[in-house]
């Protein structure tokens, strides 16, 4: 494993690479390919935290829990609450802030506060030629030039290796209340979640798990009970909402599927499509983001995309045996014109194909 301590050493390692590298931070997301590992974990440390400007800048390898602890000490947090998939995937290691950004890993609060890419204000990265690049900055409004930072978010290291990220942070509310509506099928649950999300109660979590629709509201202690009351009233057509223990960490990390046999897929859908997609998928399911994200557990080797029909192009295979991953690919095929654009970008940012090559490709071509 190559473990540089400075950005210049990342550039050296990339320039010296004659074969594909498996780029990562803590390698907790089960995405590493066969090549020699290049870890940014050695590029660690918070560079700047300005609570009054809602800004945090950290080197890419900074452990996520270190970022969380620093922010918590000032009553703040990263709103996008990235999932920790170690239990689901059976991986070890330390999740990093750079890994969260590179995979655009976003938890339940995304439904209101946006994804990792929405919090990203700027970054530094080293591309496949070894050139160090800065893009964006550390301010909330910035339209100076093309937005490469958000392009890097979710690129899984295939365009460049993140070395530093600047993020918008938000206040940590004083209190949270979760309401549970038991005994709903997916269609009724999505209807209830949609009603809540289209109403001004500012729900920061909207999920369906084990037949329960779950909604979270957060705010100041003085006014939160009133808001939770309004939410409960709004949900009356679907039943009597009751207060529940905090389920959000388990939903975020998909703990319900951890340690259980089967392949784990995630789907991104319009909420209105979720009930139909789940019916086609079969298996056990969990909905987050008001139905815009589904997690599905199916028997090993299932070609879920084949079953899903028009929703097949929205399915990502997150956990499976190597043979299944090789046969089906993690990512769905893209439309040919979009795949061509992505390929042209990768050819320009990584002309030698050394940065996680093939990670986002589909075996059926494209990507």
């Amino acid at each position: 494993m190559i473990r540089p301590g400075e950005e210049a050493e990342v550039a050296d390692a990339i320039r010296a690479a004659s074969r594909p590298l498996a780029v990562g931070g803590g390698f907790t997301r089960g995405l590493a390919g066969d090549g020699e590992r290049l870890s940014v974990a050695g590029l660690s440390g918070i560079v700047l935290h300005e609570p009054g400007a809602l800004t945090l800048v950290a080197r890419a390898g900074t452990p996520f829990r270190e970022v969380e602890a620093r922010l918590a000490a000032e009553g703040q947090r990263l709103a996008f609450e990235p999932p920790d998939l170690r239990a689901l995937l059976g991986t070890a290691g330390e999740p990093t802030i750079g890994g969260a950004v590179a995979t655009n890993a976003s938890g339940p609060r995304r439904v209101r506060e946006g994804a990792a890419r929405d919090a990203l204000l700027g970054c530094r990265f080293v591309d496949g030629t070894g050139a160090a690049v800065a893009n964006g900055g550390r301010v909330m409004k910035n339209v100076t030039g093309l937005d490469l930072a958000r392009l890097m978010a979710g690129a899984h290291g295939t365009l460049g290796v993140l070395t530093e990220v600047a993020l918008k942070v938000l206040p940590r509310p004083e209190a949270a209340v979760t309401l549970r509506l038991p005994g709903l099928d997916a269609a009724r649950a999505v209807a209830a979640l949609s009603e809540a999300l289209a109403s001004p109660v500012e729900a920061t979590g909207a999920a369906w798990a084990g037949g329960d629709a779950l909604l979270r509201v957060e705010g100041f202690c003085a006014t939160l009970p009133e808001r939770a009351g309004r939410l409960a009233a709004l949900l009356r057509p679907w039943g009597r909402a009751e207060e529940a223990e905090d389920p959000w960490g388990a939903i975020r990390d998909v703990r319900g599927f951890a340690g259980r046999a089967g392949d784990a897929w995630r789907l991104s859908l319009r909420p209105s499509e979720a009930p139909e997609a789940l019916a086609l998928a079969g298996g056990e399911a969990l909905l987050d983001w008001g139905g815009a994200r589904a997690w599905v557990l199916v028997p090993p080797g299932t070609d879920l995309r084949g079953r899903l029909g028009r929703f097949g192009a929205r399915a990502v295979l997150v956990r499976a045996e190597r043979a299944t991953l090789a046969a089906l690919g993690r990512f769905p095929p893209e439309a040919p014109a979009v795949a061509a654009l992505s390929r042209r970008l990768r050819e320009r940012f990584d002309p030698r194909g050394v940065l996680n090559p093939g990670l986002m490709d589909s075996p059926g071509g494209g990507g």
């Binding site: 893009n135 900055g137 339209v143 100076t144 392009l151 979710g154 991104s268 815009a292 986002m360």
Partner: protein, 476 residues
């Protein structure tokens, strides 16, 4: 400001190109020089150039057909929304075809369940929100030109507005687009779920100033309309106190929907014009919070308590709709009020909120050095400054000196850890200042994205990237 010379071969084939475009876009081609004049500039009126011709397609298919013709003819294309750009984003060159989307205004779909609206991008920003009204929802980014500006321009420039602190800018509210590449290929980017599964190409397109493709349809995120909103006016004895109060409010865990800042020159001009009854003070803040009545009252209490730590001259909380309107009246008429007393150049740099007072002092010092007055009115919550440089356009070197001071102020913003433009875009206006913020390698990386989308460099030429940096690509 320099633009590259037009292509003689394109100019010489003007008649043939216009004829082909008439076939591609029946009834939508303007080539009479008296009429193309309306398209010679945008809201940056200091620069103007009549285009080869103008096309106004009515559908994505017509946009694609026009782009295929331009691609085959080697004619550059300048995409245009409503032409409200303050940065010259829609400024044509003499050999370019202006592609206006003003005829594409349909609402394609509005869904409360999926919390989105899909529109053709010639629709104005404000009329998107009007179309969402029956759903009890609205489209959050609200640039001050929202009555006129189009979704096309909003996507092109990644527009902001006064409410970004809470709701984000266009890129945070854009779910997907239909777009046409320079060679006429139609692509769908993004998805109604809001999540990209492959590379997030939508993120690169948003704010790309027409450099990558022509966007024709957009899926926009809708958010619920709040139960109510109320502003409070906070008057201070110094700009420093007002700036420090902004940070303290944010620090206390409050995210007001807007925090607007005005300094004395701006307040005085607004008072003379709009007579909103603003207090006599060095700086004021208008802080607006929203929600149900109990939460508004609670937040108002917190904001008042914080403000009292900065020796406020007055705390004026609106007690009703009329008082709220009066508090906003001065702010909303600020640009008109300044225009009455002088010509002005409106800047758009962003700085970290923590360096507000320092930057204001720096701007004042630069103004003294250039012998020009600067009034400040801006979105303080997110650090997006709009210094207004007052000058006399009729004096011989008025504009030149104003632009010189403007460049110095933007350099100051970058030195403070900020950026050249927060919401107006680079266009031609800040094109040659890009080197202040980005090194050659940084610009090279951005230009590679353009290479991938628009290999011939035919879309919106000679904008965003310094001419020298892009010269070899444009010549290729």
């Amino acid at each position: 400001m320099e633009m590259p010379p037009p292509s003689p071969s394109v100019l010489s084939r003007r008649g043939a190109i216009v004829a082909r475009l008439r076939e591609a876009c029946p009834g939508g081609v303007i080539d009479d020089p008296a009429e193309t004049r309306a398209y010679e500039c945008d809201a940056l009126t200091a620069y103007a150039c009549r285009p080869l011709c103008v096309v106004l397609p009515s559908s994505t298919a017509e946009v694609a057909a026009c782009l295929r013709v331009c691609h085959e003819e080697g004619a550059p294309v300048v995409p245009r929304g409503a032409g409200t750009s303050l940065a010259g984003g829609a400024l044509p060159t003499a050999d370019s075809v202006v592609l206006g989307v003003a005829r594409m205004t349909r609402v394609l779909e509005a869904s409360r369940e999926d919390r989105l609206i899909r529109v053709e991008v010639g629709r104005t920003n404000l009329s998107v929100t009007a179309a969402a009204e029956p759903l009890g929802m609205f489209y959050a980014p609200d640039p001050s030109s929202q009555l006129a500006c189009t979704v096309a321009g909003n996507v092109g420039m990644n527009s902001g507005g006064a409410h970004c602190l809470k709701y984000g800018v266009t890129t945070n509210n854009l779910l997907g687009v239909t777009a046409v590449l320079a060679d006429g290929t139609v692509v769908e980017l993004g998805h109604g779920s809001g999540e990209a599964l492959g590379l997030d190409l939508l993120a690169a397109v948003c704010g790309s100033e027409g450099q990558l493709c022509v966007v024709t349809e957009a899926a926009l995120r809708l958010v619920p309309r709040p139960e109510g909103a109320r502003p409070v006016l906070l008057a201070f004895g110094s700009a420093e106190a007002a700036g420090a109060c902004v940070s303290a409010v944010i620090r206390a865990g409050l995210i007001p929907v807007a925090i607007e800042f005005m300094d004395r020159p701006c307040i005085e001009a607004c008072e003379a014009f709009a007579k909103a009854g603003y207090p006599d003070c060095e700086a004021l803040l208008i802080v607006e919070v929203e929600g149900p009545e109990a939460e508004i009252a609670d937040q108002m209490g917190r904001i008042g308590a914080i403000a009292r730590g900065f020796a406020p001259l007055e705390i004026r909380e609106a007690r009703g709709a009329e008082e709220a309107a009066r508090i906003w009246l001065g702010r909303k008429s600020a640009f008109g009020a300044m225009g009455r007393i002088a010509d002005y150049l409106c800047l758009d740099g962003t700085i970290p909120v923590s360096r507000l007072s320092e930057t204001l002092a720096g701007i004042a010092a630069l103004g003294d050095r250039w012998g020009l007055r600067v009034a400040n009115v801006f979105h303080a919550g997110d650090g997006n400054m709009h210094p207004l440089i007052l000058f006399d356009a009729n004096s011989e070197d008025g504009l030149r000196r104003a632009e010189g001071l403007g460049a110095d102020i933007l350099r100051l913003c970058v030195a403070m850890g900020g950026c050249l433009t927060g919401e107006h875009g680079v266009g031609v206006e800040k094109r040659d200042l890009m080197g202040e913020q980005y090194r050659a390698e940084d610009l090279e990386a951005q230009m590679r994205v353009k290479d991938a989308f628009d290999p011939g460099w035919m879309l919106n030429p000679a904008k965003v990237f310094p001419l020298q940096a892009s010269a070899s690509r444009r010549a290729a």
